[in-house]
Amino acid sequence: MSELRNTGNRGRLEQFDRVWGNLPGWGQLSAVNHTSVGLRFVVTGMVFFLIGGILAMLLRTQLALPEQDILSSNAYNQIFSMHGTVMMFLFAIPVLEGAAMYLIPKMIGTRDLVFPRLSALGYYCYLFGGIIIVSSLFLNMAPDAGWFMYTPLSGSFYSPGLGPDFWLLGITFVEISAMSAGVELVVSILRTRANGMSLRKMPIFCWYILAMALMIVFGFPPLILGSILLELERAAGMVFFEVAGGGDPLLWQHLFWLFGHPEVYIIFLPGAGIVSTLIPVFAQRPLLGYRWIVLAIILMGFISFGLWVHHMFTVGIPSLALAFFSMASMLVAIPTAIQFFAWIATLWTGRVVFHLPMLWILGFLIIFVAGGLTGVMLALVPFDWQVHDTHFVVAHMHYVLVGGMLFPLIAGFYYWLPHVSGRMPSDTLGRWGFWLTFIGFNVTFLIMHLTGLFGMPRRVYTYEAGLGWDLFNLISSIGGFIMAIGIAAVIVDVLLHFRFGRPARQNPWNADSLEWAVEMPVSPYNFASLPNVPTRHPLFEDPALPQDIADGKFGLADVSHGRREIYGSQAGTGKVMQVIHLPTNSWLPLQSGAIIAVVCLGLLTKSYWVALVAAVFAVLSLLRWSWHNGAHASSAPLTADERTDPPLHSRTFNSPGLWGMNVAMMGNGTLYASLLFGWFYLWTAAPQWQAPQEGPLALWPLLLSGALLTVAALVFRYAVGRLRAGNAKGMQGLFWISSVIGLAHFALLLWVLLSAPLQATELAHDSVLTVMLMYLLIHSGLSTVVTAMQAMRVQFGYVSVRVPYEPFVVWPLWVYTLAIFWLAVAAFVWLPMGWGGS
C-alpha cells in the first residue's frame, strides 16, 4: 500500500475510498471516476493500436516485393483505409484524451473531472463505435475508399456496399466521445484548479491540453457535419457532393480537411505537452521559457486551422489561394521552433538524468525534427505538386505522427507507469524496445522518402518490378517488422512490470507537479485534502506536500457526508469560489451509450424504424440524466444547514454547467458555421449550381415562426432576469408560457418545411435547405423540451431562488437557437432574394 497511509490517516482515507471508489464486480461498468475512465480509454486505445499495427504489417507484407498477390486489390484497399481510420480515430485521439482525462485533475489538484458521467458516456460511445467500425473488417465489408473517404468514390454509386456507412456512422459515434472529452477538459481546466493556481501557475501540460480540447471543440464539427451530409447523400439520396444536382466533391474535401488538419495538431499538442513536462523533470530544473511556450501553444492552436488546403494543393484551386495556405503552413514552423529552443535552453541549464523516458524523448526529437522539416518542404506548393500523394508524404506523415505522438506517448507511459502500478519499469527490456522501435521506424520510413521521390504513388496495392522501387520497398518492409518487434518488447515490458517491477517510492523521478503528490498506486480520489497551490512547482518547493495532503491538512478533508466534492475556482486567478458536488457511480452513461449504439446499428442496417425508436429512447435517457441533477434527491438536495462559504455550485449562477453549455455551443456553432460555409461554397463554387426561381419557403409563416421563437426566448429571459434578482414568483408559469410559445414556433416551422416544394433528392440547394431546417427544428425542439422540464423542476423544488443555476444553463441554448434561426433566414432567404435568386 501507499507509503503515505499511516495509522493516523488510515480511517479517513478508507472513508474516501468508499465514497470515491467504483462499485464492485459488474458495478465497475457504472464507474464515472476519471482515473478509471481515463485508464480504460488508454487501454482500449492500445488494443486498437495493435489492430492498426497488424493491418500495417499486412500492408508492408504485400508491398515487400513487386507484383505480389498476397492481398487482392480489394483487400488491400480495405486494409489501408482501416489502418488510417483505426490509428487516427480509434488510437491516437482517444489514447491522448484518456491520458489527459487521467492526468489533468491530478495536475490541477482536484479529485475528478467536472462532468464525470460525461466522461463515462464518452468512453462507451468510443468503445461501441470502435467495435462497430472494426467489426466491418471481419465481415469483409470494411470501407475501402480511404480514411479520407473522398467523394464521389465513397458515394453510393461507386461504393454500393456498406463500407462507407460503417465508417460514417461509426466515426460520428466515436466523435461524440471526442467532443464530450473536449468540452469536459476545457471546463475542468478552467474551473476546477486548486486554490491560487492562476493561469500562469498551471503546469505547462494543462496549457497544451486546454489548447487540444478547444481544438477538438472547434475542429471536429466540420467532419461531423460532412459525415452527416455524406450519409444523407448515400442513404437518402440527397445532393451535396454530386455534381449533377449542384453539389461539389470538393466540398467534402474542404470539410474533411477543415477537421483533418487541426486533428494533426490535436494529436501533436499533447505529445509536445508530455515532452515539455518530462524535460524539466529529467533536467532537474524548472522549464525555461514558460511564457514563450504558452505563446507557441496558442499560435499553433490557431494557425493550424489555416492550413487545411495544403492537403488540397493539387485539386486545381487558383495558385494565389494556394499561396495563402502555403504561407500559413510555413508559419506553423515558428511556434514549433520556439518550443524546441525552449527545450534546448532548459536542457542547457539543467543537469540531465538519463532514464528510460528520456530515451524516448530523444527519439521524439530526432524523428519529429526530420518530419517537421519535410513538412516545410511539402508546404511549398511547386514541390508539393511533385510529391503529393506519393510515398514521400507517407513517410513525412509517419515521421510527424509517430515522432510527434507515439514516441512522447511511450515516454509518458514509462514516466507515469509507477503512478498507476506503484512499480518501476525494467531498464534493460525497455532499452531493447526503444532501440528496436527507433531503428525499425527509421529503416521503414527514411528510405520511403526516396520511394516517393522515385514516383511511387500512395495507395497502390502492387507495383511493377524494375521501376526502381523494389529495393526501397523491401527495406521498408523489413524495417516495419523490426519496429513491430520493438513495440512488442515495449508491451511485454509494461505487462511484466506490473508483476516484477521493483516497487517505486513516492515521486520516483523527483518531479515538480502535483500529480506526484497522490498516493501510489493511485487512489480514486487523488487528494484527501485540497491544498492551495500558488506555485508552478509545488513539489520542488515543498517535498512534504504529499504527506500533508494525505493527512488532511487542507480543504474539503471531511468526507463523512458521503458526497463527492471538489472546489470550483475562477478561470483566470484560480481563486476558489464554490464547492462543486459531483455525481457518483451511475448506469446512465452505459445505458445512453448502448441506446445510441442501437441507433447507429439501426441506421447501418437501414432499419430506420429501429433507429427512430432507439433515438427517442436515447433522448429520454439523456433527459432522465439531466433530471438527476442539482437539488434532486440523488444529487445535492436542499438542507437546512447549507454550506455557504464557499457555497455549493448549484446554489450559484455561475456553475460549471453553464461553462459546459457555452463550450458545447461553441462546438455546435462550428457545426452550424460549417453548414453555412457549405451553403455559400456550393452557391459560389459548385460547377452546376442551380437555385429555384423563387425561394421554396413560405416567407410569412417563416417570419411568424421566427417572431414566436423570439417571444419565447424573451419570456425565458424575463424569468431568468427575475430569478437573478432573487424573485422566483410566477417562474414556473413563465417557463410554461415560454415552452408553449416555443412549441407553436416549432409546429409552424415544421409546417414550413413540410409544405415547401423541396426537391431534396434533385437539387443541392434544396438538400442544404432541408438540412438547415432540420437543424433549426432540433434546436427549437430541444429548447422547448428543456424549458418545459425547467417548469416541472420548479414544481418539484429542484429550481428555486435557493437553487437557481439550471435556468442559467438553459439560457445560452435559447440565445443560440434564436441566433441560428435569424442567421439562417438571412443566409437562405434574404440574401438570395437580394441577390436575385441566383
Binding site: M330, A337, L347
Partner: protein, 222 residues
C-alpha cells in the same frame, strides 16, 4: 545519395527530370534537402551538447537571458530566415509552372478524359483519339485539359511536371513540356478504386517536325 543507390533513374523518378517544371521542382528538392539537413544536424548537435554539458550554477537572471536568447534566435530568427529563403525561391518557381498565357502564340492543347481506369486522350480540331497515350511535340509547352467521367483521379508524369487532380465537374489545366524526344510514363496519383494501381499511361514526345507528320498521318487514317 540516391545516385549511389540506383542512379536517379527509374521511369517515374521526379529526380530525373526531363521538363522545365520537373527540373525546377527537383532543384527545389535538392536545395531544401541540403539546407534542411544542415539545420537538422545543427539542432541535433545543440540538443546533444545541451544534454551533456555541465551547466554550472545558473541564477534566475542568467537563465532568463539565456532563454530569451535561445528562443529569439532559434525560435524566431532561424525559422524566419529559413522560410524567407525557401519562399524567395519557391514562390517565383511556382508561378513559372502555371499555365499562364505565353508571350508568343498559343500552347498546344490536349483533352484528357479520365475514368476508372483509363485515360482517353483527344486532340481538339481533329478527330484523333488515343487511349492511355499522349503524343506531344518535344520542346514546346502543352496544356492538358483534364476532365473526369466518374471519380477523382490525378494526372502525373513525374519526369515532366507535378500532378494535377482530375475533378468531376471541373476542367483543370496542367502545363507539361518535354525537353527531349522520348517516352515518359505517367500514372494516376489519386486513389480511385480497385484499379488505381494499374491506371498508367505514357507521354510520347516527338521532334516537332515528326509530331506534325504524325498528326497528319493520324488524321488521314481516321
Amino acid at each position: 545519395m540516391c545516385l549511389l543507390v540506383t542512379g536517379c533513374g527509374g521511369p517515374f523518378s521526379a529526380l530525373d527530370p526531363a521538363g522545365p517544371s520537373a527540373t525546377a521542382a527537383s532543384w527545389l528538392w535538392w536545395g531544401m534537402f541540403g539546407y534542411f539537413t544542415l539545420v537538422m544536424l545543427v539542432v541535433f548537435a545543440l540538443w546533444f551538447y545541451a544534454m551533456h554539458r555541465d551547466p554550472g550554477d545558473v541564477d534566475q537572471q542568467q537563465s532568463q537571458r539565456l532563454q530569451n536568447r535561445w528562443v529569439i534566435w532559434g525560435g524566431l530568427v532561424l525559422p524566419g530566415v529559413s522560410l524567407t529563403v525557401v519562399l524567395a525561391f519557391g514562390l517565383p518557381i511556382g508561378r513559372a509552372m502555371l499555365p499562364l498565357p505565353l508571350e508568343h502564340g498559343e500552347p498546344l492543347r490536349l483533352n484528357v478524359m479520365a475514368q476508372q481506369w483509363r485515360w482517353d486522350v483527344s486532340y481538339p480540331d481533329s478527330n484523333i483519339v488515343l487511349e492511355d497515350r499522349l503524343v506531344i511535340p518535344a520542346g514546346e509547352p502543352v496544356d492538358v485539359h483534364l476532365n473526369s467521367a466518374d471519380v477523382i483521379h490525378s494526372f502525373w508524369v513525374p519526369r515532366l511536371a507535378g500532378k494535377l487532380d482530375v475533378i468531376p465537374g471541373r476542367t483543370n489545366v496542367i502545363r507539361i513540356q518535354a525537353d527531349q524526344p522520348g517516352t515518359y510514363r505517367g500514372h494516376c496519383a489519386e486513389f480511385c478504386g480497385a484499379g488505381h494501381a494499374h491506371m498508367h499511361f505514357v507521354v510520347e514526345a516527338l521532334e516537332p517536325e515528326a509530331f506534325q507528320t504524325w498528326l497528319m498521318q493520324e488524321q488521314a487514317d481516321e
